[in-house]
């Protein structure tokens, strides 16, 4: 038992799992985090493959008994009510999240608070309606048969249960996936990562306040990624598997998913930004730099939406080299305001290695310059006078490439095509869509304003694909069936 001069530390139990009612777990592990005089004891179940099967059976039962009977509109409305709870600063779950997430993830507390507040609002009713609408002309097709232009009557079915494998890089991101599955009326078995096991559990608690029956269609628990027997049980018991995270995590699980089942993967991605000369006028250049840094500093580039490289066009009032220096000083300011997370040895060593590589290169190559925080790895800017493209070891480390015309950027992207994702863009209207078209051809799937890169909007084609549609299957009742059925109407004349 820990003692301090102030007395005994108070221990607060927190469950980082959530089970449907009727599931009893008996074997637990614990992890403690200390904040001031409080110890939070995080409790999580240690489960067997049999338990996974039992949980899935229960989810399947609850889905059939309840979720499958809700309309999409009702589901959205219930989610909206849960989201609304989170918009109150005093909401206990929100307060707990704001308190524990910075400790668990290492991210700056202010960043977590701000980003969670922004993020949760993405799931309000009107946003969810837009989201569903962007993929389904008739969202009611999930509720009942609806006539199609072809003549058939069609209904859509989601999986009965979906297995989600979450990564822990961005707090809260898990609920995107959970809400998607819920909207298509799938129950969810969510495997969280110990690097962020909390938020989806807290959100499920909010759902339980609104509708215990709906919350019973979700089960959330962490286990160590790569635990084969559990993952095998989960992939074969559920109807669909969605995996977030590294290729290593992916490969192991993909093997386990039966061919007949839905498998979706959101993996490695690289994002970058492009600054046109028109955004570097005396009026705008400082604002442009600040926005560009937002895309780098929020969550320390751990999001696949974060900029790793910035192309700066020549010919603006301020030169690309000068922009690189301004980016460096803005990163230094940001560090004072919202310090970066502490790094593991591996992460810090990766930054050190990058700096060493380019500092050595700079000895013989005046086209390369390194601007870096003094005495630590807090931030690094590598300036390249000639265009190219390379990804970064993250944690507020960026490459800045000078380029004559932004229209030339796509030629440097080719080797990275399969990994490209978002581009933050600051250009004038006449260039926007021709550049967007070029970037689309190059493999980019999302373009946003500078400063907004890490905040994807609902309805975004995540990694370039549909979110809901990929989970659905359809049944068509042909018109001839209807006509034939008419014949058997005893009342027909």
């Amino acid at each position: 038992m820990k003692r301090t001069v102030m007395g005994t530390i108070k221990v607060i139990p927190v469950d980082i799992f959530k089970m449907p009612r009727g599931i009893t777990l008996t074997n637990f592990g614990y992890q403690t985090i200390t904040i001031g005089q409080l110890d939070y004891s995080l409790r999580f179940p240690i489960v067997t493959p049999d338990a996974i099967v039992e949980i899935n059976d229960r989810l399947r039962h609850n889905q059939a008994a309840y979720l499958s009977h809700l309309t999409v509109a009702e589901i959205i409305s219930k989610i909206d009510q849960a989201v609304n709870l989170w918009t109150h600063p005093d909401y206990p779950q929100r307060r707990l999240a704001m308190k524990l997430l910075p400790q668990i993830t290492g991210y700056n507390a202010e960043t977590v608070e701000l980003e969670i507040k922004r993020f949760i609002r993405v799931f309000r009713k009107k946003e969810l309606m837009r989201f569903v609408d962007s993929e389904l002309d008739q969202p009611e097709i999930l509720d009942d048969f609806h006539p199609q232009k072809s003549g058939s009557m069609t209904k859509a079915f989601g999986p009965e249960t979906t297995f989600h494998v979450f990564s822990g890089n961005i707090p809260g991101l898990q609920i995107w996936s959970l809400i998607m599955a819920t909207i298509v009326k799938s129950a969810s078995l969510g495997k969280t990562s110990m690097s962020e096991p909390l938020f989806p559990v807290l959100f499920d608690q909010s759902l339980a306040e609104v509708s215990p029956e709906l919350a019973d269609c979700l089960a959330i628990l962490p286990w160590k990624g790569g635990t084969m027997n559990l993952e095998e049980a989960a992939t074969s018991a559920t109807d669909a598997t969605i995996v977030y995270g590294s290729d290593t995590a992916l490969d192991a699980i993909k093997e386990l998913v039966p061919k007949s089942k839905i498998f979706l993967h959101y993996g490695y991605k690289i994002s970058f930004s492009m600054i046109g000369r028109e955004a570097l006028t005396p009026e705008y250049y400082l604002q442009t730099v600040k926005q560009a840094i937002e895309d780098v500093a929020v969550y320390d580039q751990q999001s696949c939406l974060s900029a790793q490289t910035i192309f700066v066009e020549k010919g603006g009032t301020t030169s690309p080299l000068n922009v690189a220096k301004l980016l460096a000083s803005e990163l230094a300011n940001y560090q004072l305001k919202r310090p970066r997370a502490e790094l593991t040895n591996e992460q810090a060593a990766a930054v050190v290695r990058l700096r060493n590589d380019y500092q050595l290169k700079a000895l013989n190559d005046s086209d390369v310059q390194v601007f870096a925080s003094d005495g630590n790895t807090d931030w690094t800017v590598v300036y390249h006078a000639h265009p190219g493209f390379v990804n970064s070891p993250l944690n507020r480390t960026i490459h800045v490439y000078a380029i004559d015309e932004l229209e030339q950027v796509p030629e440097y992207l080719q080797p990275f095509k399969q990994y490209l994702q978002s581009c933050g863009l600051a250009v004038k209207p006449t260039r926007l869509f021709s550049l967007a078209n070029q970037l689309g051809r190059a493999g980019i799937d999302r373009i946003s304003a500078l400063g907004e890169m890490t905040r994807a909007k609902p309805g975004w084609h995540h990694d370039g694909h549909f979110n809901l549609l990929d989970l659905l299957r359809f049944i068509d009742v042909e018109q001839n069936t209807e006509r034939a059925a008419e014949k058997f109407d005893p009342d027909v004349e």
Partner: protein, 373 residues
């Protein structure tokens, strides 16, 4: 006055002679500091890329007044730059790394003379590997100098046998592969004659040898005082090996105990080696200690990966290696190896890997790896 190449080599050679058999770093500290500073001054004047790197770190002999503040050349410098205080001659001996991580870029360490290198190799080998005798049967399991003249380890193995091997010693591997039958014959002879042997090779040499012996169901009861020496590690090889499994296999196959297993830390970019201390302590009847010790002309510091400042004793960090024997390139090197040090010695915990991306973002190494596949 900046020393000449000959003068600085003589100073270092003298230092090595003086402190040949002591690893008590306090005893040598003031001499080490003096020679290290002279050496940095010499290298700063004669090794232009090192000078420029030092200047980029705002360091010069004028302001560097103890060995701890000598600028550390990142080990990548041996790939990206030509680091030599003397003009590189055609056909000058050069050690190159095997270049496993980046085949296009191999480290180069030039050796216009081996006088210092040989002295630096010889005494610690005697002290740490052969504390109980002057010569023994050494079975080399790594290609010798003749097979690979650009490998520092090849030269090391050849010299070990030259200096310390008896007439039964030899190298059992060349460009055609390992001579398994030769090794088995040599081991059987030693077993029969009650003559202790030393197996000396790279870590992965043993993976193949143990596989072969296991397949052939061959085991040996090697005589007391036999020992097994390895260097390198198992990462990135055909398969990874758990340390305890390896010790068990060594015991079961050769009858060599854990306390007669010794690991050497060395690399292309440096010119001195460090060793596990267990053997020297065992033969001096001291309590066992499996950490590594450096010879008097080497200092090891463990630096924080974030600040590159020394960490507290017992904490992990990057190994910084200060080596007087590295007279022709850089006296101070920042390695990419992680280590832990306490008052007794240091341990190497392995090459630092690329940061594992926590989620969907991608880190350099993984991308490189992905593109290789």
């Amino acid at each position: 006055m900046t020393k000449t190449s000959t003068e600085i080599q003589n100073d270092i050679y003298q230092f090595i002679q003086t402190y040949a058999t002591t690893d008590d770093q306090q005893l040598s500290e003031s001499d080490f500091n003096r020679v290290a500073l002279d050496l940095f001054d010499y290298q700063f004047k004669s090794n232009l890329p090192y000078k420029r790197y030092a200047q980029s770190q705002r360091k010069s002999p004028l302001i560097v007044n103890n060995w701890q503040s000598i600028p550390l050349m990142p080990i990548q410098g041996y790939k990206q730059l030509t680091l030599s205080t003397t003009p590189v001659q055609k056909d000058e001996p050069v050690f190159m790394s095997s270049g496993t991580t980046d085949p296009n870029h191999r480290s180069h360490n030039y050796h216009p003379s081996f006088k210092v290198w040989d002295a630096s190799m010889k005494y610690p080998f005697k002290q740490f590997v052969l504390p109980d005798r002057d010569k023994m049967t050494i079975l080399g399991l790594f290609p010798g100098e003749k097979t690979n003249s650009n490998s520092s380890l090849s030269r090391y193995v050849t010299k070990a046998i030259d200096f310390f091997g008896d007439d039964k010693s030899g190298i059992f591997i060349d460009e055609n592969g390992m001579d398994y039958q030769g090794i088995v014959g040599a081991l059987k002879d030693a077993e029969r004659q009650g003559r202790p042997v030393m197996l000396l090779g790279a870590s992965f040499s043993y993976v193949h040898l143990l596989d072969y012996l296991n397949e052939q169901k061959l085991t040996f009861k090697l005589p007391v005082d036999s020992r097994l020496f390895d260097t390198g590690g198992f990462k990135g090889q055909s398969r990874s090996v758990d340390a305890q499994d390896l010790f068990d296999a060594i015991k079961n196959t050769f009858n060599i105990d854990r306390d007669h297993y010794i690991n050497m830390y060395g690399m292309t970019e440096i010119s001195s080696q460090c060793y596990d201390q267990n053997l020297v302590r065992l033969y001096h009847h001291l309590p066992l200690d499996y950490t590594k010790a450096a010879p008097a002309w080497v200092r090891v510091r463990i630096l924080s990966t974030d600040t590159l400042q020394p960490v507290e004793s017992g904490h992990a960090g990057l190994i910084a290696y200060y080596d007087l024997a590295n007279w022709n390139s850089c006296v101070a090197i920042l390695t990419e190896d992680m280590g832990i040090q306490d008052e007794n010695g240091f341990e190497v915990s392995g090459r630092v890997q690329g940061a594992e991306a926590k989620g969907c973002s991608i880190a350099v190494d993984q991308l490189l790896h992905a593109n290789q596949m």
